[in-house]
Amino acid sequence: MHERAERLVGSLVTADLELEREFEARLSDSSRLAFRVAYSVLRQREDAEDVAQEAFAKAYRSFNQLRDRTRFRAWLVRMTWRLALDRQRASRRHSRRLVEAGLLARLDQSDETTADVVVARERAEHLWNAIEALPEKLRLVVVLAGIEGHDMHEVSALLDVPEGTVKSRLFLARKQLKDRLSWMASSLR
């Protein structure tokens, strides 16, 4: 009886450790994805990090309830997206935001002139506004397709929708973006 109890406790501890290890692996694998999804909504590094952190904490709390662990990334993306939208709604600070972080850092490091930097910044700002103006479903497809070079198959897995749907949504999204950025399109050539 005692041995059986010990074995049970031992197996529970082992299961816990395995769960921890698995979560750690998922965390390392998906941290950038969560951050970028949050960033695509919030466009502020600190806010995006906060939201991604919150999403991971939530994921950790419910990790043992996730039956299909291979769906972790999709689950995390949805959670992060929702949290980011909530944060965006809650804080109206993003009304007039400068495009910061990576793009600007890259521009600063390059040999481009101040005028080039200003143009690039303006272009990025327009692009973000155009993305933000997209319907939520199209927006998420564009964002996921633009992150880490995801192809259609990966996006469809992340969104849990058929590839055909992803394809059509992406087509629609790009069309709308191009329409909005028509002036930019000519300069992109």
Binding site: S28, S31, F35, E49, Y60, I131, L188
Partner: protein, 200 residues
């Protein structure tokens, strides 16, 4: 030509979007997430330890309550259930063995010990008078075993009508509560001055 242009635009747009989204988190991000997870883990651990603590408190409280109820509800034998036992003194060695002498209920009733028993001698008895109040202050009368045996014989004899009980009313009268004490009236004492002293 237009198609090529459109494709170029598409590619350029893709690149532009990728560039806009190609922002990496700060190097502190991952350690911060790990710290947060560790915090969650600790909170979870605290929750469990707190749960166990609460469970312990509940169990102890329940145990105390159960014992309390059990003690209070223990059918404390009223004086009517009191019984006479050997004291264990005297010639029969240790006398640890107790015997119920079967005095019945009336013998132990305090208010009228003689009213219903045929021979209600408020005998020298070994009584365990365990009432609720008496639980705290136990009350017992100790008698010698030979006296207890004598009492038993006496009651048996009375029960089998070998003894007449007509002489007992005297005893009954002796056991009646005393008449209320009359109030003592103290008359004031007047002390007259001594004549000799007056002359001086």
């Amino acid at each position: 030509m237009d198609g090529e242009l459109a494709e170029m635009n598409e590619k350029a747009l893709e690149r532009e979007i990728e560039a806009a989204l190609g922002v990496d988190p700060s190097p502190e991000f991952l350690p911060q997430v790990r710290a947060r997870i560790a915090n969650e883990r600790m909170r979870e651990g605290w929750f469990w330890s707190a749960s166990w603590r609460w469970a312990g408190v509940v169990v102890v409280t329940a145990a105390v309550a159960t014992i309390g109820v059990w003690v209070l509800r223990d059918p404390a034998p009223a004086l009517s259930e009191a019984h006479v036992r050997d004291s264990g003194f005297g010639t029969r060695g240790s006398g640890a063995e107790s015997r119920d002498l079967g005095l019945g209920t009336a013998a132990a009733k305090p208010e009228s010990p003689l009213s219903s028993a045929p021979n209600p001698i408020p005998a020298v008895r070994h009584v365990h008078a365990e009432s609720r109040a008496a639980v705290a202050v136990p009350f017992e009368v100790v008698i010698a075993p030979d006296e207890a045996a004598a009492l038993k014989q006496l009651f048996t004899a009375i029960g089998s009508r070998q003894l007449e009980t007509f002489a007992l009313p005297d005893l009954q009268a002796a056991l009646k509560p005393p008449a209320p004490i009359e109030e003592i009236v103290l008359e004031p004492i007047t002390i007259s001055p001594l004549a000799a002293l007056e002359g001086e």
